[in-house]
């Protein structure tokens, strides 16, 4: 734990130092401190996961907080480890990325916010005092707000960051509500004190769970509370979106998991409601991702999808507990934990690659790109690799976690008829989500990186080493976690024990042996690919090869604008998904014998945006209109209010006494 705090101190010191020193060294100082800090925190997490080292530290603080304990149990350690492993390469990448912005004054705020964000994220997942938790949670939201609003001279960035700030504060109100009730009822402020409140009354426990679910779900991006993600992620610099989407939204998942560890017997209703919300979230996210043409917004929507998948896994775990099917619970929670790890790898990678593209094209619209893989070979190949992983395809890590989620569902179908129907439903939805994910990511990989370029400035594109090497590092982590899942699961046994409440050892061993089988199959598959590749390359060396332009049916005037675009690629699928996906189309068709200018404009509309802007906002306005009656702006009236207040207080005190 001392090592962990040394790491945190290094993060903060890096932020402070980069504040003081001259502009030229800012990025390198920040990188050095971040790298060494994340090595220390990662080391502390590994120590704790393998059962060595002290895992607790207590601070005695003043009045409002009281005794504050930072505990590194296996759940916290997992999150700290993911944060460190991903933040290390991302901070190196950020050094390369920020070189393209020559704005000293803003960069200063940027680095200190970055260091505050990572340290508050790490502290939030270790603290056990709910008050300190809320303070750190707030620091996390604020520092990420400053990071999102880096390019605040742009109109859309400004409005996106304000939107983010508001969403975070609406979310935190629910967490405060849940925590305040629990600490009022239990008389203590640490999470362990909350246990009694959550378990004494089942209905109260459910209500508190869903209150905190709304709060944490806003951070994570569950369906009706997700609307900040597709705005904030495109607006932020790419390494910031990588951190936010790959890591920060996982703190919301951490919150939900932490509450689950405190509940002894979660109810069936909780599981079913959570399953429905998560399945809808996942479906919604991937359909919007498939339709979107802004490359970073697409990734943001796919984060919503993956959060939904993690939520499905968690709810299957809860249902396993509620129906007393231990194997199902263990598999479900394991799937959730693995998907948390895996998603943070491939989503970070995709955002970093997208950032590399953005620095060259200065555009996020994928319709204007194409053929970039020839100029940015590493970035392009890594993007394709990560696309395979995020579509949940073998032999990469995305498949492993989805396999566990599938398998947890299938192991529950014999338990009860209700579970049979819901699990098969979830099963088929997950298959559909996977199929749409393939469409979404073949689209972005194909349209951004493959084919011929739709722009003229492609010759100037280049990638620099300081940005490619961190990506390769994460890519290696990603491939390894796909090929050796049972090694990773060796570290997650503690988490499964925490979530399944003590027992479930036997079931966990079964799950690990399943992962070992899977890993063997993956390695065999890689062997087959390798041997056929070698055979093919030998053949290629021997045969007569001719390079010529793409076949165009004998038509000689083809241009790159004739290629299939992202919208035309997804058009068929978009047409059949009307109820979930709302597409707004403005069209002026060509008319008459000599048609004049005609145009079409399509945009996808997020249904929650419509609800917020047209319904909720109106209600709020109406409410405040009604309340404003009491404001007359005359001093006499306010004096009367004061007198009425004092009289009521007197009566109340006398009445009580």
């Amino acid at each position: 734990m001392d090592v962990f705090f040394a790491g945190i101190i290094l993060f903060i010191a890096g932020g402070v130092f980069s504040e003081i020193i001259s502009f030229r060294f800012k990025s390198s100082v920040s990188v050095i401190f971040s790298v060494s800090g994340s090595i220390l925190t990662g080391y502390a997490a590994v120590l704790s996961l393998s059962g060595h080292g002290s895992s607790e530290i207590t601070f005695l603080m003043n009045f409002p907080f009281g005794e504050t304990r930072f505990v590194m149990d296996s759940l916290s350690a997992l999150f700290v480890l993911i944060f460190s492993a991903v933040y290390l390469p991302v901070s190196i990448y950020s050094g390369g990325y920020m070189k393209h912005y020559n704005n000293g004054k803003k960069e200063r705020l940027h680095y200190i916010s970055l260091s505050l964000l990572i340290s508050s994220m790490m502290l939030v997942v270790t603290v056990t005092n709910s008050l300190v938790f809320l303070v750190l949670w707030e620091i996390m939201s604020l520092s990420s707000f400053f990071l999102v609003s880096f390019e605040n001279e742009k109109e859309d960035v400004y409005s996106a960051s304000i939107n983010y700030l508001i969403a975070m504060h609406v979310g935190v109100v629910f967490i405060i509500g849940a925590f305040a009730y629990m600490s009022f009822a239990s008389g203590g402020s640490s999470f362990d004190d909350f246990r009694s409140v959550l378990n004494s009354n089942k209905t109260a426990g459910d209500i508190i769970f869903f209150l905190s679910f709304i709060g944490f779900g806003t951070k994570a991006g569950f369906f009706p509370f997700h609307s900040w993600l597709p705005k904030a992620h495109p607006a932020a610099p790419s390494h910031v979106s990588a951190i936010m989407s790959g890591l920060m939204i996982k703190t919301g998942i951490y919150g939900i998991l932490r509450i689950i560890t405190l509940i002894d017997n979660p109810s069936k209703t909780t599981g079913f409601i959570l399953l429905a919300i998560s399945a809808y979230t996942a479906m919604f996210g991937i359909l919007y991702a498939m339709n979107d043409r802004d490359m970073k917004r697409q990734l943001a929507y796919s984060s919503i999808e993956n959060i939904g998948i993690i939520g499905m896994a968690i709810s299957v775990g809860i249902l396993g507990l509620a129906f007393e099917n231990k194997y199902m619970a263990v598999l479900g929670f394991t799937g959730a934990v693995l998907h948390i790890i895996n998603h943070s790898f491939f989503k970070t990678l995709l955002f970093l690659a997208a950032g590399s593209v953005y620095l060259n094209t200065h555009s996020r619209n994928m319709e204007t790109m194409g053929g970039i893989i020839k100029k940015l070979p590493y970035t392009g190949s890594i993007f394709i690799l990560a696309s395979v992983a995020i579509s949940g395809l073998p032999p990469l890590n995305g498949f492993i976690s989805e396999f566990f989620i599938y398998y947890s569902m299938i192991s529950g179908i014999k338990t009860s008829p209700v579970l049979f129907v819901t699990m098969i439903g979830g099963f088929s939805l997950l298959a559909l989500i996977g199929a749409v994910a393939v469409i979404a990511f073949t689209k972005s990989a194909g349209v951004i990186f493959l084919g011929s370029s739709r722009r003229t400035d492609i010759d100037h594109y280049h990638e620099n080493k300081s940005m490619v090497i961190p990506m390769i590092f994460i890519a290696i982590l990603m491939v390894l976690s796909g090929l050796l899942p049972h090694k990773i699961m060796g570290y997650t046994s503690g988490i499964s024990a925490l979530l399944v409440k003590g027992d479930g050892e036997v079931e966990f061993v079964r799950a690990v042996s399943l992962a070992a089988d899977l890993s063997l199959a993956m390695i065999i598959f890689c062997g087959i690919v390798l041997s056929i590749t070698i055979f093919r390359v030998i053949l290629y060396k021997r045969e007569k090869v001719e390079y010529f332009k793409t076949w165009d049916c004998g038509y000689q005037g083809g241009t790159s604008r004739m290629q299939y675009t992202a919208s035309s690629y997804s058009a068929d699928t978009v047409n059949v998904t009307k109820p979930i996906l709302i597409n707004r189309k403005e069209l002026t068709p060509p008319e008459g014998i000599f048609p004049k200018k005609s145009w079409i404009k399509t945009s996808d509309v997020d249904i929650t945006d419509i609800i917020i802007t047209h319904v909720i906002k109106k209600w709020i306005e109406r409410f405040f209109d009604a309340v404003s009656v009491i404001q007359s702006r005359t001093a006499q009236q306010y004096v009367i209010y004061v007198i009425i207040f004092i009289i009521i207080t007197f009566i109340w005190i006398i009445g009580v006494k």
Binding site: I384, A431, G451, Y564
Partner: protein
Amino acid sequence: MKIIFINLLIIIVLPFLFIGVINKTKAFWGGRKGASIFQPYHDFIKLMKKGEVISSTTSWVFFSAPVIYLSTVIFAGLLLPIIDHTAVISFEGSFILFAYILALGKFFSIIGALDTGSSFEGMGAAREAFFTSIPEPAFFIILGSISIFAEINTFERIFGLYHAGSELSLLIVVLTVIILLVILLVEGSRIPIDDPNTHLELTMIHEVMVLDNSGPSLALIQYGAAMKMLILSSLIVNFIIPYSAGPMIHLGYFAAGITFSAITIGTIETLTARFRLVRVPDFIFTVIGMSLMVMFIILLYYYGGRR
């Protein structure tokens, strides 16, 4: 061990024979003499010996797409229980891997097509992506539901259904076979979904995706496609064959079944015309409806008083 070798042999050697039988059947119904059933082998060898023309627009993706496509199909074959319901690689939940590994092949054939920058190939890729995504949930619904009868959820155990023997189980078998047949036609791009012999790029689905592949890379793709057809029809055949028959009898059943399914596919292709493209999705969507029916029949069968 012997059975595993027979299985491997079936997967590696038989695919073209299967296509040959389909073509022979079509020739028979068309009143022609038709090519020998071994003709696809000759075509394969011819293509392997040729040089190739590669589009200068392409990158490594185009080159590796046929390789990965073929490897995924071979691997899917290893997961599939064939003779004596034994798979080369078998573990719990391997049917999930089976579906996903085929999806990986699809992923790469799609981005391989997009890599050429041709509008035709983009169009084919978009159609292939859309059409093949529809039956995916249906496949999972039926395999998931049927797995309720299995003690262990391996691919081979799930085929124990026929054992149960009653009117309802017969209904399950019939519906499942129809669903799997439609999936076979969609995945294999056969009539009435797609016509492998068409000559107009605008109406093609799978064939248009490989317009720019030639020589060995086309050979690999055709081999993979043939193997996929064989694998999916052995899935159907094995679903019908009684569970414990002994390896040699099973081999006989299997040979008869696979020939019958090739003849059936040839007959379907002769009797029906391909659908208009806009009607194809409607046709494929029926599979999801049927799979939900299978699910509810199994729900009744398993929980409705039988136990």
